[in-house]
Amino acid sequence: MKRRHVRLVVALAVLALGGTLREASAQPRGTLTIGIPTDVTTLDPTMSPEVNSLNVAFSVMEPLLYLDPAGNVKPLLAESWQVVNDTTYLFKLRRGVTFHNGEPFTGKAVETSWKRSQEKQRANRQPFGSIGRIEHVDDYTIRIVTEKPDPTFLKKMANVAAAIFPPKFLAEQGDEGATQRPVGTGPFVFAEWVKGDHATFKANPKYYLPGVPKVQTLVWRFIPESAARVAALQTGQVDIALRIPPQQVAPLERDPNLKVSSALSTRTYYIAFNNLTTGKGTPIVDPRVRIAMNLGTDIQGIIKSIYAGNAQRVNSLIGNVQFGYDPTLLPMPYDPAKAKQLLAEAGVPSGFKVGLACPSGAYTNDKEACQAIAGSLQQIGIEVDVQIMESNHFWDLEAKKQLPPLFFDGVGDRYQDPDEPMKGILTPDSNWTAFDKKEFTDMIAKGGSTVDPEQRKKTYAQLARAMQADPPFIFLWQVKNFEGVRKRVQGYTTRPNESMGHLPFDVSVTD
């Protein structure tokens, strides 16, 4: 053989060997166990909007797109996409992907899954609400037309609610199969689900991306009691424990086998004012009274004592990690003297009595926060009657707008974008809205009807200022979400919206 050719062959051999070695070292190894705070009731992402159920489902199936930690949309089952115009998107699908049961992944699967997700009895159909038409272009190309311009559309398609099921599986096994033994294209394959105890998944050997997943077995343990979850982390029965209450964090920080990971949650808490039903005719109708109540609540003091400092004030209902958050707008200050002055101007110098409803056990330290807020308002003469209710009863009354003129609640946010949360708590369309002002409704509509990011940022900055001038809420805080991780786990980070979609790609275990 000519010398030149020999060198070429050797070079190629070395490359091939190196490639194989890389592949071999990327074999999934070990078992990762995660302790989650809810009892998962379904593995079908169309049937429950609850974040933990969705995370478990995420192990098995995937949507077309993927959100990276910075909130940018990346390709997953869609190889690439094109934004044709404000309302039209063209997705080019990845080829050569098969579902766990052998069915091929094609445009037909996307069509069937998304049409199914739009059915009216799907509890989690909301992400698909804006889709007008799904058009089949060819086997690997699909065109989506939205009814109106939707700035969060791509982010919605990265949510696991938009995951793709195999069509034959759906036809044969229906809802029951999708709930109990889901099949998808994901990095893990469903192994077993012992309800109330745990769900186990095994690495998918035929996954289309190399080196994914990094662990061989993934186990989700359902441990609703936070003290038990923490104990399970300390004994090593779980490797990652989610939602650790702030008062249980200190002993974990001292433990050499653990690290505490945290992120500011996207959930924003507020006290809502009702000017639609129970609040009509009461002093809170006057904007000065509502400004006074914002000025009269010692938010920083409450954060320090109830949350041990592990929360951050918000300047409006557009939260600190959301798109459109304006850091130049300061939160309303704590100024009880000014508050009393405003109350006097509004004609209630010696205060008044008002009811405040609070759910029990729905959120971290909700009861304590409500009582602390009542204590604060007492100092400026407002006598708050705190009514604590069982959470589901509370939400039932909230949806019927039968709660007292004040109530405590939090609004979550899956896409780190204010459009959905604002629509959900401040526009007349929604069940959860207790305050109606046309100016706010218009601004929210404006922010949600264009895809131009600069224009949207301007609108939301305006909205934040308008809300401070005529507050529909007492603006409270966002809470730090704590998670405990054992040292053997590598590459895990806490996401603000509690999503675990990054697990198969980033997380490995050493032993």
């Binding site: 009892d39 309800k195 109330g196 004994t235 959900g424 369309d429 069940n431």
Partner: protein, 305 residues
């Protein structure tokens, strides 16, 4: 005897029917599941559409008729949350529930009753004080606290037992002790009281005078009759353990029916609540039948004509 059993069967069917009717209306009184199930960012119109699609907005009479029609065939419908057979979900959890309830009961009986007898047969001794002290602590300590302390000591500090879930006998120990502790306390106290009472009754003294030794007196004559209130207590508590040990199941993440029931009630999962109520009523009528038969065995004079 057969006539009695048949009669009881008939009444039990009626009782179960009553429970199902009561539960049907009670659970609908507590609220609307549609609003709880749908994501918070859904509009009012979307929630209404969901409610209609699921059939919650039909008049109660219509829903009740449909429920009755299905219930007599043993079909409780699909759980709203799990989207699978409501009765099937309960059956799935039965082994875990039975395991815990039986273990807890055995623990309570095998420790509590002898302790109570010990206290009664050695009144005012150190044993009496010990038994009463244990009984008192067992009754008054909150289950949550006991469970947590056990977890901290036996799992976290000593690493002997697993914290959560069901995986063999090791995982059964702490839930069993925590569940049985309250009943243990009550059983000890009740056994002591009943034994003390009966030890001074006529027939014991008659037996004494017949020349039987003190040992036989304690364990044959006294126990038989004294057991009646004990059996009642055990029966009522066993029924509770089988259907409602929510707190223990939550603390130890034990996959039993109690947690399922609580979840169903709070989420207004009508079909599942109804299935749970049916299960609970079956348990109660069976246990009470067994208890009543036991009365007859323990004291022949009580037996029905």
């Amino acid at each position: 005897m057969t006539a009695y059993l048949l009669g009881r069967l008939g009444q039990s069917v009626l009782a179960v029917g009553c429970v199902l009717i009561l539960v049907f209306f009670m659970v609908r009184l507590t609220g609307d599941p549609a609003v709880l199930m749908v994501s918070r960012d859904a509009t009012a119109a979307e929630v209404d559409a969901f409610r209609t699609a699921m059939g919650f907005d039909r008049p109660w009479a219509v829903q009740f008729a449909e429920f009755l029609g299905r219930a007599v065939r043993g079909d409780f419908g699909r759980s709203l949350q799990y989207q699978s057979s409501a009765w099937g979900l309960i059956v799935e959890r039965l082994p875990a529930t039975l395991e815990l309830a039986v273990a807890g009961l055995l623990f309570a009986v095998l420790v509590g009753v002898p302790l109570g007898i010990l206290a009664a047969t050695r009144p005012n001794s150190v044993w009496d004080a010990l038994a009463q002290g244990v009984s008192l602590l067992a009754q008054a300590l909150p289950a949550y606290w006991v469970g947590l302390v056990l977890i901290i000591v036996l799992s976290v500090k000593l690493g002997l037992l697993p914290v959560a879930g069901r995986s063999g006998f090791a995982s059964l120990v702490m839930p069993m002790v925590t569940l049985g502790l309250g009943v243990l306390g009550r059983l000890t106290q009740l056994t002591r009281a009943v034994m003390l009472d009966v030890l001074h009754q006529d027939y014991v003294r008659t037996a004494h005078s017949k020349g039987l030794g003190p040992g036989a007196v304690h364990y044959r004559h006294a126990l038989g009759n004294a057991a009646i209130p004990l059996v009642t207590l055990i029966g009522v508590n066993f029924g509770y353990m089988l259907g409602g040990a929510v707190l223990i199941e939550s603390v130890f993440s034990w996959p039993g029916v109690g947690r399922l029931a609580a979840q169903a009630i709070f989420q207004r999962d009508f079909p599942l609540v109804q299935a749970v109520a049916f299960f609970a009523s079956l348990v109660v009528v069976t246990v009470n039948l067994a208890t009543d038969l036991a009365y007859g065995l323990l004291n022949p004079a009580v037996r029905r004509q």
